[in-house]
């Protein structure tokens, strides 16, 4: 498996809305905490260390 960096989320605008909605009304600290939790949850779902390493690189 390789990190998929091609469009993969159906209805990207809808997802983007949901992501912003999750942060609606949060302070910066609360938003930072939510982002951190989200990253950990998604990272666990992926699980594959090679893909996670690629993702860290792609984000960096």
């Amino acid at each position: 498996m390789q990190l998929n960096t091609q469009p993969n989320i159906p209805d990207p605008d809808g997802f983007y809305d949901e992501l912003l909605a999750a942060h609606q009304g949060l302070t910066k600290d609360q938003s930072d905490a939510l982002n951190a939790r989200l990253i950990l949850i998604l990272a666990n779902h992926i699980g594959d260390r090679d893909i996670l390493r690629e993702a860290l690189k792609a984000a960096g």
């Binding site: 930072d32 905490a33 951190a36 939790r37 990253i39 950990l40 949850i41 666990n44």
Partner: protein
Amino acid sequence: MVGATYALAHKLYPYAPVADQAADVAVHHPVIIIGGGPIGVATGIDLAQKGTPALILDDHDGVGMGSRAICFAKRTLEIADRLGAGAEMVEKGVVWNVGRVFHGEGEVFDFNLLPEDGHRNPAFINLQQPYFEKFLVDALRRAEAEGKPIEIRGRNVVTGIRQDADKVTLSIDTPDGPYTLTADYVIACDGARSPTRDMMGLSFDGRVFEDNFLIADVKMTADFPTERWFWFEPPLANAPQSALLHKQPDDVWRIDFQLGWDIDREAELDPAKIRQRIDEFLPDGTAYELVWTSIYTFQCRRMERFRHGRVMFAGDAAHQVSPFGARGANSGIQDSDNLAWKLDLVLRSLAPDTLLDTYHAERAHGADENILNSTRATDFLTPKSEMSKIFRNAVLTLARDHAFARPMVNSGRLSVPCTYDGLPLNTPDALTGPARTRPGSPCPDAPLADGFLLDRLPGCFTLLALDTDPPDITEVGGIPIRTLRLHGADLTDALRDRYLGDAPHALYLIRPDQHVAARWPNADAATITTALSTATGQPCN
């Protein structure tokens, strides 16, 4: 007064003048050990049990008071069993398996160490370090009474060290004045501040963690369960970063508060202030007595090389870790286990001096693993940046409801012995067997029909034959080999699981320190001889 920089819990080897001090020419000893802490004493007993004379010099006349190591791991107890001190430790120690993690007001989760069945010793015991050391010195005295060549001299402060091609010369100060000794080899077990290291101008590099830990041992007859309780950001005044509560024998409890970097040390050590913190921490009205308090900062560092010619460094003198994970004394005891048999063979001219280089290779490998674990735990406890704290707290928040986050919570990864993977004393694995017993691994204990496997692997090379008949070998080049044949009822399910897996039979060559040197389905005499030569650092022809 010579020596005496700290108060004693047990006066065990009071100063007594000896003939060496009056000799005109420096008296020579095969091995001198500097430091009578746990590592020095363990190494001395091990050498003496093998028949190699060991002289231990300590700057005090007993075991220091106070609150240092409390958690001792199974591997340490197994080694202590071989040294004749394990049973007392387990009898006195507190066995615990359950840990609870809290964050702020609430509990995050609990865990059970779930120790595997079929081991003589528990996964961990809690025992005050002074007891641990006393039981070792008691074993030393028993060995001495049996005529084993071991001696410990109190109030003998090593003040100078010099080595040349054929010996090491030590200058020693005593209440009756200085004297000089020479030795073939010296083992420096003189602790984290190792004067030997300084006298030899050797460095000790690593990381200091910018945090202070207040450690208080309190005596109380409280009704808490025998569990390890660890709080991140406990809801207390002055907001310590973390707190720990852990039981020891004699109704003593270890309490730790993580105070942060910028503190007024004097003020924090004021008993009134300490009591204030503890009163708030314990349930209202709990009566207790302060037994010992101190403030520590922790570091992770090691010497670049553990061997310098005829001088070997072991224990805290060679490497230091933060205590989260209890990897200090526990790893030092493994140093002693690794070094004693090698030095014994070299002194008997049964192995080349280069075998001692593998002491560095193997134990530096262990130290690196311990430092890595300890550094990661410290990074979780003391996040180094705003973002690392955000992630740390995210892990703690998620761990309440989601199992996946629990393994990331790190308040210390408890000490387990390392496997000497890829190091030169191993013979490549020739058995399709369980990974945990591959060459380089410490032998896991296992139940036999009657008793336990490790009790049958005393401190010499052993051929462990499982449902197979190995060739008759009793020695190779003067190095004795024992054979332990197990068949039938001795091949318990746990033993099969740990040593055979799917293999129908197996032959293991096991080192004196109970690490696997080689394994095969079976082997002929030539193959075994080659493996033994490899395991003792001899050139194979």
